[in-house]
Amino acid sequence: MMNKAKDIVLIGGSAGSYTLIVQILEALPQRFDAAIAIVIHRNPRFTTKIEETLSIKLRRSVIQPRDKTAIAPNIIYFAGPGYHLLVEPDWTFSVDVSERIHFSRPSIDVLFDTAAEVYQDRCTAFLLSGANQDGADGIRRVREMGEKRSYNRRTTPLLQQCRRMRFRQTQKVTSMMISRSSLFSGS
């Protein structure tokens, strides 16, 4: 049986957040125990090469999960265009083509909401979007589920840093620049 990630870090952003996401990913340590799942709004009618480009650039696994892909540590997952990405209770991904949420499929809310439910306080989320409501409900849900089980166990330095940086729904995040050293030092 494949090793499944015990922690998950979520990043959601509109198309314009791409460079910021790349910056964050570049700053990551070469190895860590969490899985990273990212939703970026993109149009299925145009092909993009985000995964291929980043795999080469970052020299690590960057993939578009298929249906029932097990969520593994140290892998970066990008939601594919045209499908919502969901987290199932057995720590796998599933995809669906149900209605768009806030005009978006994949929707940030869908990933955040389902991941929060499954990972509870082992889920950390970043929302890098200002243009659209998508993600706001999701990030609130991440916080709620985290607080429900706030009695915390051992955390890795990476996640401590991430949690410190967790954004609130009311904060506009697009204007916020993250300096690499402050975010991922100490891992």
Partner: protein
């Protein structure tokens, strides 16, 4: 039924609802992907301003509610010529082989409102195969089948359908295949001729014919691995020797043993051929 605030149902409550529905009706949702199903049920609760107790009450006591629930839970997003390159792959990799069968029976499983069935019919007609073909479209949702049978769609959707169709690399125009009137369009009669729509539940029903081609795209993503296994077995038994099975872009057979009985014809679009 007043409610203070919309609350989220838990996985346990979902489980209870699924069990109840299974007991009082023929609908078995136990093999559906949990998170996806939970969102669907949540959506109905929000839509109807119900809580879990109201929902359970309605399942048991309100006539017609079970069917309504199933129709709302199933996802019915479809387009004509969705994923244009898939249809290119059909023309290039599949039709030359299908041509060699004297008679063709095709099955679109989970056909929703029928757009895919008519897209298939058009592709077959253009390859001069439609005369000896028959396409069955099935779905668990009785509402969408009514639309599929009528073959009448809102005209405004044909803008995207035409774009899709043109992207399949054809020199024809989709408008050759429908007649528009006011704000709707009907698929041409000879394209509608060799199709039949009928209700079939992949989770509980069985083999009903033998096919040279089965397409089931974006349906298995709603099922867990165990139910997927059942459905793959059902497809395997329904396929004739060297028949084709087409899945959606994100779906795969790799998690299943039955994969060894199929050959991959097109990896990108998950087109398989039965070889044993």
């Amino acid at each position: 039924m007043a409610k203070l605030m919309s609350s989220h149902i838990t996985f346990q409550e979902l489980q209870d609802i699924v069990e109840l529905l299974g007991k009082v009706s023929g609908f078995d949702l136990s093999g559906y992907s949990k998170s996806s199903l939970k969102r669907r049920i949540q959506r109905i609760l929000d839509l109807e301003q119900m809580d879990v107790v109201d929902l359970k009450n309605a399942i048991v006591n309100v006539e017609g509610f079970q069917t309504y629930l199933i129709n709302e839970v199933t996802v019915n997003v479809t387009e004509m010529f969705r994923d244009p390159r898939y249809y290119m792959a059909l023309r290039g990799d599949v039709l030359p082989y299908l041509e060699t069968f004297p008679r063709l029976k095709l099955w679109s499983a989970g056909c929703s409102t029928g757009e895919e069935v008519y897209s298939l019919a058009i592709v077959l007609a253009e390859a001069d195969l439609y005369k000896r073909s028959f396409i069955y479209g099935t779905d668990v949702n009785s509402n969408v089948l009514e639309t599929a049978k009528k073959a009448i769609y809102p005209l405004k959707r044909f803008k995207i359908y035409s774009e899709n169709y043109n992207a399949t690399g054809t020199c024809n125009s989709l408008s050759d295949y429908y007649t528009a009137m006011y704000d709707a369009a009907i698929i041409r009669a000879d394209i509608r001729k060799n199709v039949l729509f009928s209700q079939h539940n992949l989770a509980t029903d069985y083999v009903f014919n033998e096919f040279q081609f089965i397409s089931c795209r974006n349906v298995l993503i709603y099922f867990d691995l165990e139910l997927q296994r059942r459905v793959f077995q059902l497809f395997y038994e329904s396929l004739s020797e060297f028949g084709f099975l087409c899945l959606g872009a994100k779906e795969t057979m790799v998690n299943h043993e039955i994969r060894s009985k199929f050959k991959v014809v097109n990896k990108e679009f998950n087109i398989y051929q039965k070889i044993k």
